[in-house]
Amino acid sequence: MKSFEDIKSDFPIFKREVNGKPLTYLDSGATSQKPQIVLDKMNEIYTVSNANVHRGTYVLSAETTHAYEGVRNKCKDFINAYESDEIIFAKGSTEGFNFLANSISKKFMEPGDEILVTEIEHHANIIPWQMVAQENDLEVKYIKVNEDFTLNLDDLSEKLNSKTKVVSIVGESNLSGLLPDINEITTMVREKSDSLLIIDGAQLVPHRKIDVQALGIDFLVFSGHKMLGPTGIGVVWGRKELLEKMDPVYGGGDMIEEVYYDKATWAPVPHKFEAGTPPYVEAIGLGSAIDYLTELDMENVQNHSDELREYGKTIFDDIDKVNVIHSSAEKAGCTFGMYVDNVHATDLSLMLDTHGVAVRSGHHCVQPFHRKLGIDATIRATAYIYNDKNDLDVFKNALIESIKMLS
């Protein structure tokens, strides 16, 4: 594997300083930084071969179309999908969930049916379900979280029934780093219902090796920008036999087979779900990000995350007044949600910024979970492949100093 120094030097942003200090970027849970090869690839497309995909019968269009469609194959290999047609491009995870909620509720659900999500979901995996539930008389139910921040699987088991048509669960919590046991959940869902099973991979896919076939799930959603790719591109993976039954949510160019004044027929999967000019340059950028991660090997990426998480646990747990939202589970993502007694998270993140440390503060799009914990806001530090133990040390020292100033 590349040395850590080599990895960090692949990311041009780390050459800059913030407030006169070297940048300590610990907000990859919100978005990741981009390696030079992703930036170069996107620049190359615009500079050398830009043309709309699927449209032109000329060299430029053929080149971009080939590159764009090639990314489907890279995504397929990256998550071990059955075939590349199962890869649908979306703007990101949020659009992915909106698409799934709308299409699934129309095709596979009837009034009175139930959707199960957990209490720690990101808003992107709550709101679209709430919206279609209201429209179609469905019910959204929440699987409880235990006091140690693990999922209450007994509660899941109790809530599963013949009316459950969707179970949609976070693959890696964006606040506690919790990694629910997807295999156990799959077994339970299959035993007790005929529900579809969706995994929110927004935080999971960037950090861990994923095999959708081995997991036995039905859909996986993830975002390009959290895994070294550009913004504006994400992926919905679904089993082909399900995608073939589902109807498109967006209509327009490129998603049709035949159009008449009074009707239209759809293109085959996956194109029927991709109306209009797709963000092909972003998709190709995501392809380069996948190349980069594949070269590092996701096993190594995962090990790096685990190592940093272990280290973080040892250094953050003994800081006075600091409460870290850990799950008791042995393995978790390298995400440290924390709150400090009598110090506001916003104050802390502003102070940390003066040390060049970038962390998120607020509710991180998991408001209901914060409400359940009885806290308004937390700060959250998330690490990725370009972070090392030194970053966590810098953060820790800046945190101690900031707390001193704010107490």
């Binding site: 506001h344 104050d347 003066t354 704010l406």
Partner: protein, 137 residues
């Protein structure tokens, strides 16, 4: 002192600090020295929407002039809202509503006064102006 003069004074003070950290420290001091805010006024109806922390602004009318009580559960926000409240306090509703001074432009306060319209300081200003406008109407 007019709104403009108060802004000018604060601007000069803020310019004395060489970096964001010292400016934040100044705001923290402002927060700690500010007059006490009655806890029972921490009501939803006085909450300023659009702030990352919780911020409350309560208008009081004293004869012809408006006075603003303010509070926040975050120290730096409290310092900022104290400063903004003091700029617009003891002025008439007309003076407040007609003031066109752009605090975001005038004050260099690091990331907390970024020129985005969706920031907390903008919401505080909007709330004060709305109080003044409602009073005129």
């Amino acid at each position: 002192m007019s709104i403009e003069e108060k802004v000018e004074n604060y601007k000069k003070t803020l310019e004395l600090f060489p970096n964001d950290q010292e400016k934040y420290q100044y705001l923290i001091e402002q927060a700690k020295e500010s007059s006490e805010f009655p806890k029972e006024l921490r009501q939803d109806s006085f909450k300023v929407h659009g702030c990352q922390s919780q911020v409350w602004l309560v208008p009081e009318q004293k004869e012809e002039k408006l006075h603003f009580l303010s509070d926040s559960d975050a120290l730096i926000s409290k310092g900022l809202v104290t400063l903004i409240a003091s700029i617009y306090s003891d002025e008439t509703a007309e003076e407040i509503a007609s003031s066109e001074i752009d605090l975001m432009e005038e004050f260099d306060l690091g990331v907390i006064l970024s020129p985005a319209r969706r920031n907390g300081a903008y919401s505080m200003l909007k709330t004060i102006k709305e109080y003044a406008k409602n009073l005129i109407n």
